[in-house]
């Protein structure tokens, strides 16, 4: 089983191999296209992670002590971001997620981390994933 930081580094390497910013963008969009869409009934306000311009719905479940995420978004860019985070964080224990090393984000070279974090809601996405992990952990104790 790959660790969170290994999975993150793998994605970072994929991104680093792509030079053109538009191709990087396209790669992120493709990550999102591989994400299984959520059933409409799951897109409820309590699952909504609101970014500045895009909305993401996050569903978290615990199986065999591990957290599994699924998600959807109204914008492809946000769907790509959440797909990337799911690939890195999903299938790990709550503790691993809570202590996750996500420094790979600094390496992927997508322009303007700040804009991405705020407008795309990446920061609130990650925060919500950690909060969900914490809540699921509390249930297991």
């Amino acid at each position: 089983m790959t660790t969170i930081s290994e999975a993150g580094n793998e994605i970072a390497e994929d991104f680093m191999m792509i030079e053109d910013p538009l191709d990087k963008f396209g790669f992120l969009i493709d990550l999102g296209k591989n994400l299984e869409p959520l059933d409409e009934s799951l897109k409820t306000s309590d699952r909504l992670v609101k970014g500045c311009q895009a909305s993401v719905w996050l569903v978290s479940a615990l199986r065999d002590g591990k957290v599994y995420f699924s998600a959807d978004a109204d914008a492809d860019y946000a769907r790509g971001l959440v797909a990337m985070m799911i690939r890195v964080l999903s299938g790990h224990t709550p503790d691993e997620i809570l202590q996750a090393d996500i420094s790979f984000l600094e390496k992927i070279g997508l322009s303007k981390m700040l804009s991405m974090k705020r407008a795309g809601g990446l920061e609130s996405m990650i925060r919500q994933m950690k909060l969900d992990a914490l809540a699921l952990k509390a249930k297991t104790v």
Binding site: D20, L22, I29, C52, Q53, Y77, S111
Partner: protein, 411 residues
């Protein structure tokens, strides 16, 4: 192009704007977010540096040479604005932080004096939040009513409704000259005449007009006229409020502080005359100086020439973008400034903005601070390309090509 206008030397103009030559994401920047803020010519940048290098001092107080020099240049800047707007008296020009503060000033002074319970404030459906919220706050405070003139499907003001909504209860009208989202140019002169026929004063939000067309406050007969420096090729944090002299004399101060007084005792303060009465605290001196330089710059090119060129650009861009499959332009008024808001079928505006950014093209996405207007068109937001006179047809081509690539990735 009209008979009076002359072609302008775009390559030379672009060289005057240092930022336009930079690269973004490995490509030559295409800056099409002028509705949010404009870039600055070197003369503006130099004027600010010059102020701090040679004559920085606080104004209107010091007896020393630097203070006198700074005061003089600051007041010359006011005179430049007066001339630019065609105001009759230099005292009618108040420096503010921007259009937003200008509108707040009017709501807090004239508004508080004249709007009472049961009265109405008339605005339009295409106002920027900054020309909605101050009036909403006033109406809440006074238990008055905010009345909204609707727009038609082309994004034009329903002028027939405007006339009907002007009532005996209407105490002030506040409307934009040019819509920041749709580009619609409102017939402000005719609308003001209608309001004046009922003795109702009018505030015009000129934030999107002053950078693009000649404005004469006496010709349109505005009572209040507001605009921002940073959208007019000047610095941020400086704006203008024109107030007709006969109204100006009746207004109380907006904020208390230094600079606005004649004498202060603990019992009573005697206020200075306008405009200083409305400029509490040390003002944005370099902002005013930079703004005057920006106005000098556009006047040297000529606003009629700018207007004619931007019209050509708008026409070209409208044709070019309309040819993209699935693209729908929001705002198709007959009278339009060089702003194109659009949506593309099945693609979130935010995704288009990000895809364009990856190609070095700067546009704005979202509701453009006009949420009620987005509701009117039942869309969450648009992509907006807003042009200035330094933009080119080649940049429009790059935008169109960039959009085609974006659609390929996102569709």
């Amino acid at each position: 192009m009209t008979a009076e206008s002359k072609p302008i030397d775009i390559p030379a103009i672009r060289r005057d704007f240092p930022l336009l030559s930079r690269e973004v994401n490995g490509r030559q920047l295409v800056y099409l977010d002028n509705g949010a803020t404009s870039q600055k010519p070197q003369t503006v940048i130099d004027a600010i540096a010059d102020y701090y290098s040679r004559y920085n001092a606080n104004i209107h107080r010091g007896v020393h040479a630097l203070s006198q020099e700074a005061s003089q240049v600051y007041e010359e800047a006011r005179a430049t604005v007066q001339k630019h707007l065609g105001a009759g008296n230099v005292n009618e020009i108040i420096f503010t932080r921007g259009t937003t503060e200008s509108i707040n000033l009017v709501a807090a002074t004239y508004g508080r004096m004249h709007v009472q319970a049961g009265d109405e404030v008339l605005i339009t459906a295409m106002e920027h939040h900054s020309n909605i919220v101050p009036w909403q706050m006033l109406c809440e405070e006074k238990n008055a009513k905010l009345v909204v003139v609707p727009v038609n499907d082309a994004g034009e003001l329903r002028t027939d409704e405007f006339g009907k909504l002007l009532s005996a209860k209407t105490k002030i009208v506040a409307l934009t000259q040019v819509s920041n989202t749709l580009g619609t140019v409102n017939p402000v002169k005719a609308l003001i005449a209608q309001a004046h026929a009922k003795n109702i004063p009018v505030l015009v939000d000129g934030a999107q007009a002053v950078p693009h067309m000649a404005v004469d406050v006496r010709d349109i007969d505005a009572d209040f006229y507001a605009f921002s420096g940073h959208k007019t090729f000047g610095p941020t944090g400086i704006g203008v409020l024109y107030v007709r002299e006969s109204i100006l004399e009746t207004l109380p101060p907006y904020q208390g502080g230094g600079g606005i007084i004649k004498t202060v005792t603990f019992e009573k303060t005697e206020y200075a005359d306008a405009p200083l009465k409305f400029e509490a605290g040390t003002p944005n001196i370099e902002g005013a100086i930079g703004l005057a330089k920006a106005l000098d710059y556009i006047n040297a090119i000529g606003l009629d020439n700018i207007h004619a060129y931007e019209n050509q650009l708008l026409e070209y861009a409208t044709a070019k973008l309309s040819a993209i499959a699935g693209l729908r332009i929001i705002g198709t008024a007959k009278e339009k400034a060089a702003v194109i808001s659009f949506v593309i079928e099945g693609i979130h505006p935010f995704d288009i903005g990000m895809a364009l950014d990856a190609q070095g093209i700067a546009v704005r996405t979202g509701h453009h601070c006009t949420q009620p207007l987005m509701d009117r068109f039942s869309i969450p937001g648009t992509v907006r390309a807003s042009f200035a006179f330094y933009n080119t047809k080649e940049e429009v081509d790059l935008l169109a090509a960039g959009l085609t690539k974006a659609v390929k990735i996102l569709a």
